[in-house]
Every structure is written in C-alpha cells, then in structure tokens.
C-alpha cells in the first residue's frame, strides 16, 4: 500500500506538471513531448489500478500512433518551433486561467463531498478483471454492436482524412 502511494504521487506530480507544460510551452514539439509524459503517466496509473490491458492499449495507440500523428501535424503545418509564445496563444489567457481554476475548484469540492474517504478495494478479483480475457468476453457479449460500428467509423475516418489531406 505504501509503495503504491509513493508511485501514485510521483506519477501524479509528473502528470500534472507535464499537463501544464502541454498548454503553456512555447514550442509545439515540446508540447507534444509533454503530452507523451501525461499519456505514459496515465498508462502507469492504469496499471496501478489493475487495468493492465487498457494500459497497454494506451501505450500502443496513444503514444504509438496518436503522438506520431501529432508530430506529423506539427511538421506538415510548419507550426512555430521558436520561443515566440504570442504566436501560439490568443489574448484570452487570463480568462481561460480563471475558468480552468473555477472548474477544478468546483469539481474537487464536489468530488470530496461525493466520494470523500472511500477506498478502492484491491483484491484478486480486481486483478482478474483487467485481463484481456475478461475484457474480450465482455466486449463481444455486451458491446458487439458498438464494436462493429466503430470499425465502420474508423473506415469512414480513414476515407475522410485521405480526401481532406490529399493534394489536388
């Protein structure tokens, strides 16, 4: 339990700092790298929560595919990589900061009110629940329709992205 807490707090601090880095960095490539830290931290938290399969999907799809897409996006649109922050932000930074603080404050207060002191029960059932077998059988028993429709959605997204990005 003690070890878990240490790991959680290390990860949480890294994720929080990196998340701020994503939205405050003056260099788009740095932002992408900060995003990798947040995504990897989230994957580690999933392992901490015994969701092993989702953690690896997170690593493969998010860090492996989505981040690469972002890097291509940065490269192809020649987004500024210098240190000129005015080019990346608009002029509503202060308002945005107030809104974000407000959201965080309200959500935290309500979360404490609703779930304060409740513990997650780590037992053998929890570990079994995160296995690919358990997920696979539930996915194909209960969520077969959304699963099949997602495949059509990915096909359409592929076709759409090709049409949009193609030079003609």
């Amino acid at each position: 339990m003690w070890g878990q807490q240490v790991v959680f707090w290390l990860l949480a601090i890294a994720m929080g700092a990196a998340a701020i880095g994503v939205v405050r960095s003056r260099d788009v490539v740095h932002s992408v790298l900060f995003l990798v830290v947040v995504l990897a931290g989230a994957a580690a938290q999933y392992i901490l929560l015994a969701a092993e399969f989702v953690a690896w999907v997170q690593v493969l799809i998010y860090i492996g595919a989505v981040v690469v897409l972002f890097l291509f996006g940065v490269m192809l649109t020649r987004s500024p990589m210098g240190h000129d922050s005015n080019r990346l932000d608009n002029d509503q930074r202060w308002a945005a900061g107030v809104v974000a603080l407000l959201i965080f404050g309200v959500l935290t207060a309500l979360l404490v009110d609703a779930f304060g002191g409740q513990q997650i029960n780590f037992g053998p059932e929890l570990v079994a629940q995160g296995s690919p077998q358990a997920i696979g059988s539930d996915l194909f028993r209960t969520f077969i329709v959304p699963f099949e429709v997602v495949s059509m959605l990915l096909l359409a997204a592929l076709v759409g992205a090709v049409v949009m990005a193609r030079k003609d």
Binding site: L110, R141, T142, V149, V150, L153, A156, V159, M164
Partner: protein
C-alpha cells in the same frame, strides 16, 4: 454464454454497412460510371427501410445484449425518420456533387456512415452505444462540412464544426464517466434506478455536463455559435443534412438519455433544458430577423426551431402521459420535411441565380413561379400557418405545455408563443420579396433542376400539405411510438 443476436432486428444497420462497403468497392473498381455510386447509395437506404417496416409490422420488441440495444416502436419510428431524411438528402445531393469539383464516391460513403450512426442511435440504450453512435454521426460530417476543399469558407466550416464536436464530446464524456461511477453501470436502466434514490450534488453536475455536450450538437443557445458559419460554409446538401438529420439525431440522443436514464432526477435537467429552450427560441429568432443571406437565415431559424423542440422536453417531467415525448417526435418529423424542402428549393433556385442572398429571390414569383410557390409553402409552414404541417408541430408543443400546467411550463409557453409571432416576420419577408419585389438582372448560364431535386421538393411538399390537412397521420405515429412507454 454466447449472446443472442436477432439479425432481423439488426437488419437496417447491416444493410447500410453492406451498402457503404459496396459503394467504396464500386467507386474503386468502376470509376468510369460516376452515376453508379449515388444510385447504389439510394437503393441501399431504401432497402434499409424494408426491415424497419417488417419489424414494425411484426410488432414484437427485441431487446439484445442485456438491454443495451433495443428495437421497439420508439426506435423504429426514428429509424424510419432518419432513413427517409437520408433518402431525400441523397436526392438533393446528386446534382450538387456531380456538377461541382468534388470527390463523388467518398461523399456517399461518408453520408451513409453518418446515417448508420443515426439508425444505431435510435436503438441504443447504454452510454457506450450512445457515445459511439454520436461519434459515428459526427466524424463523417466534420469532413463533409469541408467538402469544398478550395474554398476557405468551407475550410472554416469544417474546422469550427470539428473543434466544437470534439470539445463537446470531451465535456459530455466527462459527465458520462461520473455517471458511470455513481450508477455502477453504463446501461440507462441502471442509471434510471440509481437516480431514483437521492444522489449527491455531483450527480447533478454530471447530468449538466452530459446535457451541455448534447446542447452543442443540437446547437442550442448559448452553444450555437458554430452553427451559422458552418451552415453557410458547407456545401448546400451537407447543410441540409446537418440542420435536419444531425440535429434530429442529437435530439434523439437527448430524448433517449432523459427518458430512459435521467428521468427521475428531473430537478437536475428540467431547469437546464428550460433555459436552453427559451434562449434558443428568442436568440435564434432575433438573429434570423437581421440576416440577408437565406442560408444564414435558415441556420438561425433552425436554432430557433431547435428551441421549440426543447420546449416539450423542458416540461416532460411534469407531464403524466406520453404527450411531451410524442411532441418531440412529431415536431422532428414535420421540421425535417419543411426544412429539407426549403433547402431543396434554395438549391434549385441558386442553380439559376448562383446566389443565396435573399435579394436574389426578389421577383421569383414572375421568373419561376413553381419554385416561388413551393418556397412560400415551406416558409409559411415553418412559421406555423394553418393548414400547413407547421401549425400541427406548434400545436403538439402547446398541448404538452398545457398538460404539464406548471408555472414554469406556462411561462415557457408564453415565450414560445411570442417567438412564433417574431418568426412570422422573417419567414414572410422572404415570401413578400419573392412576389412583390422587382426581379434583379438574371445571371447567365442557368443549370436546370434535375429530376432528383424536383422529386425531393415534391415529396417534402406533399408531406407538408397532407400532414397539415390530416395531422392524424403523424399523431397516430407518435402514439404508436410511445404506446408501451
């Protein structure tokens, strides 16, 4: 332990999926016959209506996957609506897509994928299915909004719609994740049970975030700002699709999640929907008054019409019978017919004038009296003048308000009535200019409206007139859809 799959109940989805894949393959292997893909697409949509009809005739409700996917009259009524709307959208698309410098085959693939999401939405009864259906509806339309690739207005339409779409999904999902945590399940029936207890304040916030996500999708004020720009920038058939089909799908999602999930905590959602309804009607109408472009005017008018559709939802918690739910369905069906019809006429006219400014419609009565009569009919129907279908749509809404009978409901009813009067001004302004103003110099090279476009106008005008005179047709449909609920 294998799940029971009823292929008859899934037939509309399967037919659409097969059609999508066939369209892709035909477009790839038979590129020299560009008419083939649109024909195949409309055939597929018509074929998907057949199982909807046979399921409706068989009359048994099918519930699969532990109640996550349900095919009942409610789902079938909306399936039918979506498929008919899809067919008319295809009819109005043929000329525009064939004449412009567009990708042809891909257009139909994306449009049908969006329709697949809508058909799935009507049957979805859990958060995961609703989310996937919503994304399947939205993601293809982000691309379709930017289909005029070399026009920066169309680019803007796509990027605005895309960013608002993903942002609203993220907000909605945050709400859904909290709801999952509270209710310990994603099925709406489980959430409904949970909300019957006394949930903490955070649950109300979760409902709020979820509904805000949907409010973006149906462009309810104050989450509407993307709609006019997107509608103006997108190709006209896509605008017609967005303002009717996507919007209807958003309302179906809202209706489903409120009716089957949140209904018991009406304190959380009723005030929110009330504000959205009042703001959408008032702001949409006032902004529509100022517009000089008919597409922008129709965009604001569709925001206002969306406000009217929210009215019965805002009072649904205080209505004992199903009249509020029926009102949403009936209004959506009538709204679909009249708005699609209006867009079809605008398309037919703009093929001649190459303009969508309201000034270019001046004197249309003398130049092209058939289209002028049609557009007048649709405008008066949108304004709610009897004996056109629009009046019945307004009637079912006020009936729901009276059934509720609370102070909040009556105030909302008064706001709706005032807005109906305001709306009359800008709709009738178009009609006045068509019949009483001088025609401007006609631009050369008119392109005649095709059979398909004429057919689309024909179908919608028949619905608008027949339902206006015999409203029992749609009223009966509404009763059947909510008979068991």
């Amino acid at each position: 332990m294998n799940p029971v799959i009823d292929y008859h109940a899934l037939a509309p989805e399967i037919v659409l999926s097969v059609t999508i894949i066939l369209c892709l393959l035909v477009d790839l292997f038979i590129p020299d016959r560009p008419r083939l893909v649109p024909q195949l697409a409309s055939l597929g949509v018509l074929a998907a209506i057949i199982p909807v009809l046979t399921l409706a005739v068989s009359g048994t409700d099918v519930s699969m996957f532990g109640g996550a996917f349900v095919v009942d009259n409610y789902a079938l009524a909306f399936d039918g609506l979506f498929l008919v709307v899809a067919y008319i959208t295809l009819l109005v698309s043929f000329d525009e897509i064939a004449d412009g410098d567009y990708y042809g085959g891909e257009y139909y693939v994306l449009l049908l994928t969006s329709v697949l999401g809508m058909v799935m939405m009507a049957s979805s009864r859990d958060l995961v299915s609703i989310f996937i259906a919503l994304e399947t509806i939205s993601i293809p339309t982000f691309v379709l909004a930017g289909w005029r690739k070399h026009d920066t207005k169309s680019n803007e339409a796509a990027i605005k719609y895309f960013l608002i779409g993903v942002l609203s999904s993220a907000v909605m999902l945050y709400g859904m994740s909290l709801i999952f945590g509270f209710a310990n399940g994603t099925k709406l029936s489980v959430i409904s049970e949970y909300s019957a207890g006394s949930p903490p304040a955070l649950f109300a916030v979760a409902i709020f975030l979820t509904i805000v996500g949907f409010a973006f999708k149906v462009s309810a004020v104050p989450f509407h700002f993307w709609a006019p720009d997107t509608y103006e920038g997108a190709p006209l058939p896509v605008t017609a699709f967005l303002s009717v089909a996507s919007k209807a799908a958003g309302f179906v999602a809202l209706l489903t999640i409120i009716r089957f999930g949140f209904f018991n905590s009406s304190d959380s959602w009723q005030p929110l929907i009330w504000v959205l309804a009042a703001a959408s009607m008032t702001f949409g109408n006032l902004a529509a008054l100022r517009q000089t472009n008919i597409v922008r005017m129709l965009a604001y008018s569709s925001i206002a019409q969306g406000g009217f559709i929210l009215v019965p939802l805002a009072v649904a918690g205080d209505v004992s019978g199903p009249s509020a739910w029926e009102a949403v369905l009936v209004y959506l069906m009538i709204y679909a017919a009249m708005n699609l019809g209006a867009f079809a006429v605008v398309m037919a006219v703009s093929r001649r004038t190459h303009s969508t400014e309201i000034s270019s419609f001046a004197g249309l009565g003398r130049v092209d009296s058939v289209n002028a009569v049609m557009l007048s009919l649709f405008m008066f129907s949108l304004a709610g003048i009897p004996p056109l279908a629009g009046w019945f749509a307004k009637f079912v809404i006020f009936r729901a308000v009276f059934d509720a009978g609370t102070t909040a409901a009556v105030v909302l009813g008064v706001i709706a009535a005032l807005n109906a009067v305001v709306a009359f001004f800008y709709y009738s302004n178009v009609v006045r200019r068509m019949w009483f103003d001088e025609a401007p110099e006609v631009v050369s090279s008119p392109r005649p409206a095709s059979v398909a476009l004429t057919l689309a106008i024909g179908i919608t005008v028949v619905v608008v007139v027949v339902v206006g005179v015999y409203p029992e047709v749609f009223a009966r449909l509404g009763q059947l859809a909510f008979a068991s609920g």
